[in-house]
Symmetry: C3
Subunit: 266 residues, 3 copies
């Protein structure tokens, strides 16, 4: 679990060009498609109940994001997820706004119960709510958790048998046994809509070429954070930052990860 | 009602970070989220009938935009709007394309009848149609009105007991008694999709921290227009303008408004 | 059929400002609106079954794109298309992902059967599938065709009585009799989500002011390709390319097309 193992996954994405099927929100769907292309994978967005199983059967990972969920869309997530499990491709769940409304909390819990999820990625409040901890969520970007997020994440990962990612200034990645802390990133990323969703797309792209989802999730977050650091140096506000962020992701090379990843094993 | 009162509202947004719930169109939903973040508020987009009331209950303003309406979405707007009224938070209505199709005209009228709307913001044709004036709308961006828009806006505002905003080269803001004219802005704003929708999001953010919706609407339009003027100086086309517009909104400070707002009391 | 005839169409778009009604996918809907504005036309997006016929009746072209289709949306496409046929305005079909799932293939075939389509624009695999050729499609951006694409496109165009466009490094445009090859463009366009959809929007804008859809489609692709070539010279990655691409489209003048179009009659 060195920077070389993270860098190696970026090389594999560029060579294998995995297909990442998304069922995602309307706000950031374009960002998710473009971030997937920039990292070197291929995005496809499809959520008609009639076609999701066929599309999943071609895909290398499935990303489920409940940011603008509907009852119909959650149904499509369930079918797509079952097919992904049958095909043995990783399913990434981004429980956007879990804790803000009952529908979001219950939909995320239902997907966690019904599917074999590889990675859950959320902010501290969203993950805290799903973990049953004392947590607060207002809308989709304000959240807090009572207690230590590492302890909450580790217990949740162990109980659920999944990899848990809590995004933040320092990202936490754990499967209940190992805990990796990713220090890459820049505060500018929090000033732009969709960076959380983009992180989930990248987690999908890296998981698609990996066997170990702790390593692939940390690699995705390190790669994204490094691109964010480079972009911030070029930006004069959130939108010039956005332009630079996508450009930097597209030009990121494995050596950047070897040199710049700041990932610690706790 | 001086530039200082407009600038003061920007300070309050930055401090209070109000949550702005949007039920909006698919075309510019990302722009609306990012413009809300750039001004310093927090966006949330949610339109599932099962969750809108809960989300509204956390929010500080509600923005309804019918740009890509569906029957289901209009139903969600109605429930969300009723909850917003019960919670006494301002509701902003952007009647995109009212007059172009019966469904848009009738949906906008129904929302105006059923809800206590704080601010209606549209172009001259859209507002003219809702006011019962002689008006023409083709698609969502060509419209004209027979008669004087100030007279139409004033009568409509007085009859309906709302604040009416007609966007244009000079924006009109009136509650039927006071009429403010906002001269800020740049013609580049008309060459970019979504600037009308962004103006409604900003009107929501400013209304969330204000008691007087004539003042808050004028402040929102002045702030947006000032950012547009600054951005136009940096742009070589509509998309470099877009990048600069969001950057300038994010870096706008109250002193910019004090210095550059061009708002006249008629 | 010289560069002057292509350039002339750009002038007409700028003068007539045709209204282009889109029923399109959620991923690139904003790109399509902005590309339509940049070329000088007016976009409108509307897909509620209750309003599509009224909106089409105001429009000068209709663009149907199945990139994130639903059963309901395909129904709206059918009604809108019938109205477009009754109004005698051109219908452009972008069969995104045809061949990837049965629903996409069947929906595209149904629209081709039920409507008088003016132009079908897809990649080699999508068009190959609809033409009944041996073709492969994975997701929405990987596709290949067995046999010579010109032969496939020509036979399909002749059989169906439509203009067929296959996008690629060299674009193919044919009505079964004439075959035009468009060499403009840049590989950067393939690294950005939505360039295929934008090409269909431009094909709609050019068709709206033309009688000959072979000429208008080639003009659209040449204009887009020229803007792409200019933009690539300014870009340091896919997103700075995107900014430049829209800016260049907006500043494109007929003389650029006269000078830079690389269109060959086969």
């Amino acid at each position: 679990m060195t920077s070389h193992s993270f860098a190696e996954l970026l090389s594999r994405i560029r060579i294998e060009r995995p297909l990442i099927h998304h069922i995602t929100n309307a706000v950031t769907i374009n960002d998710c498609a473009n971030v997937t292309l920039c990292i070197g994978a291929a995005p496809v967005m499809a959520e008609a109940p009639e076609e999701v199983r066929e599309m999943v059967a071609m895909a290398d990972a499935l990303v489920l994001n409940i940011g603008t969920l509907s009852r119909r869309q959650v149904g499509a997530m369930l079918s797509a997820g079952r097919e992904a499990n049958a095909c043995d491709i990783p399913v990434i769940l981004d429980p956007v706004g879990a804790g803000a409304t009952r529908m979001r909390t219950e939909s995320a819990r239902m997907l966690l119960d019904a599917l074999h999820i590889a990675v859950v990625k959320g902010n501290a409040g969203e993950v805290g709510v799903l973990a049953g901890a004392d947590a607060q969520v207002r809308g989709v970007d304000f959240s807090s958790i009572g207690g230590d997020p590492v302890t909450v994440a580790r217990a949740f990962a162990e109980d659920a048998g999944i990899t848990v990612v809590i995004s933040g200034a320092t990202d936490i990645v754990t499967d209940g046994k190992r805990v990796l802390l990713v220090d890459n990133g820049h505060e500018m990323m929090g000033r732009l809509s969709g960076t959380g969703c983009m992180a989930a797309s990248l987690a999908g792209a890296f998981a698609a070429v990996a066997g170990d989802y702790v390593v692939s999730s940390a690699a995705a977050l390190a790669a994204f954070g490094i691109a964010g650091e480079k972009a911030a140096a070029l930006a004069s506000g959130p939108y010039s930052f956005r332009t630079a962020l996508f450009d930097e992701l597209a030009s990121l090379i494995p050596d950047d990860i070897v040199r710049d990843a700041r990932v610690r094993l706790l």
